[in-house]
């Protein structure tokens, strides 16, 4: 995996000024900075369209009023969270196939962003429900399956946090990433059938009569959410990639130290400190049990 595709190596970051000036230590590149500024401009434009320019919903039969504006964020973040988990699943398969670190880093970055977007889907859906149905939580099919999804990927991140060895972690997490995503449609259909026995209300059902600026706000929101996801992916990928390289960078030093144990003067001088070296039994059990 190459962590970057957008900028040539060795770009002089100090040459630019203003918003384009890159922090010397950051995860930003010139390309990602430009991308980020475009997204930022898009966000401002989106907020203006969604909150100011677009009219309240009065024409349609549902009469959602200003509440329709919630849809402009709710639907896009929902789309982004499904995109994120799809990417986690695909990169997990790619990891199991290629066994290279980069795919694992992509999978975790995507899952983390996905969990945030899922949380926002639930939050905005709940706010919507409070107005539309009068309750903070309705057992609506899509909201419910999104909730299950949310907890499932919290589990994915918890599994990653519980395993120290990077290879074991990557392998188990990759399998869980696939297993969890396979579960998404099953959860969705089971919950839909389950609710289908009672009612058919859903937040995300786009009103066919929606048009004009309202439709534009919705579509623009979706594009923007996916673009924002992409920007976050670039930076979180670089962050995790840097962290992984940092973990691995000690290897040369560790090898030198390890070989130095074999030097007789080191052994006799540090006879007491050999106890500090993990014994065979401890090291094997610590990593393999």
């Amino acid at each position: 995996m190459r962590p970057h595709l957008d900028t040539p190596a060795g770009t002089d970051a100090g040459g630019s000024t203003g918003l384009f000036r890159l922090h010397p230590d950051g995860t930003a590149s010139r390309g990602s900075r430009t991308y980020g500024l475009v997204v930022l401009a898009g966000v401002i434009l989106f907020l203006l369209v969604a909150l100011v320019f677009s009219p309240a919903d009065t024409g349609s039969e549902n009469q959602m009023g200003d509440m329709v504006r919630i849809m402009y964020v709710h639907v896009p973040v929902a789309v982004a969270c499904y995109v994120a988990f799809l990417v986690t699943a695909i990169t997990s398969i790619a990891y199991l196939w290629k066994r290279t670190e980069g795919w694992d880093v992509l999978a975790v970055a995507s899952a983390e962003i996905g969990v945030v977007f899922t949380f926002l889907t639930l939050a905005t859906g709940s706010i919507w429900g409070h107005i539309a149905w009068g309750t903070w939580w309705e057992w609506d099919a899509r909201l419910t399956s999104t909730l299950v999804l949310f907890i499932m990927y919290l589990g994915y991140l918890a599994l990653r946090g519980a395993i120290l060895d990077p290879v074991v972690r990557a392998k188990r997490a990759a399998i869980l990433g696939v297993v969890a995503f396979v579960n998404v449609p099953i959860v969705h259909y089971s919950v839909t059938w389950w609710r289908g026995l009672h009612q058919d209300a859903t937040v995300s059902k786009v009103d066919p009569s929606i048009d004009g600026l309202k439709l534009f706000a919705l579509m623009f929101g979706m594009v923007l959410a996916v673009a924002l996801y992409g920007w976050l992916m670039i930076h979180r990928f670089r962050l995790h990639y840097a962290a992984a390289r940092l973990e691995a960078s000690g290897l040369d030093r560790a090898l030198a130290e390890r070989r130095a144990e074999a030097r007789p003067d080191a052994v006799t001088a540090d006879a007491a400190s050999t106890d500090a070296v993990p014994t065979d039994a401890v090291t094997t059990e610590g990593t393999l049990s």
Binding site: L96, V148, L149, I151, M152, L154, G155, A158, L159, A162, I163, D165, V167, V168, K171, R172, I175, L176, V178, V179, A180, V182, N183, I186, V187, Y189, S190, V191, W193, W194, T287, L288, S289
Partner: protein, 236 residues
Amino acid sequence: MAEHPGPRPGSLGALLADARLVAAKDLRLEWRSRVILSQVLPFAVLVLILFAFALDPDRRILGQATPGLYWLAVLFSTLLALQRSFTVEAENGVTDSLRMSGLDPGGVFLGKTAGIALHLVALQLVLLAGVTVFYGTTPHGPLLLLAAGATATLGLAAIGSILGVMAAGLKVRDSLLPLLMLPMVAPVLIGASQAFTAAYDRDPGAGWRWIAMLGVFGCLYTAIGIVAFEPLLEET
């Protein structure tokens, strides 16, 4: 070296032979230790009693909620059975022995799944008697109940084996396994409860599509487990 008796390694016959060997070992282990019988089974019955305490002694509510409560009890017991089943594989270097054993990892998965499923079947027979006695409900539609029980048990055992070995050997496995397992098996809980409801309501027609869903779930995760067990067992 001694010539290998039995089917050719790598063949389907070898896979099933390994599965049978592992499943028989798990049943023998239970026969010798009786952990499921003496601990998980009483726990399952206790859950049924606690539901009654929590809800009401009024049998009407318990009767209506029987399918859901029954499957919740099954689910909680499954977690305990899984912890037990995969703790024995992670202790005393048994994991290394398994890797060295020459057993097909897919066969190990099938064997563990079959062992857990058989334990769950025994548990469910007792739980079914339990809800009949304690909640005053009479089972109907034996065919639907049987189909729902079989497909849901397969699904629980299959995904439980995948997640069980995934969490095995970790310090936090006791809290991690439920977090991984419970959202994953939400479709099983829904489907099996709905199928049981249909059976108890003498409306079996509504139940069969749930059986299809449960069957797909079980077969899908069985297939994934056969493939995924090799990297899971291998670890490094």
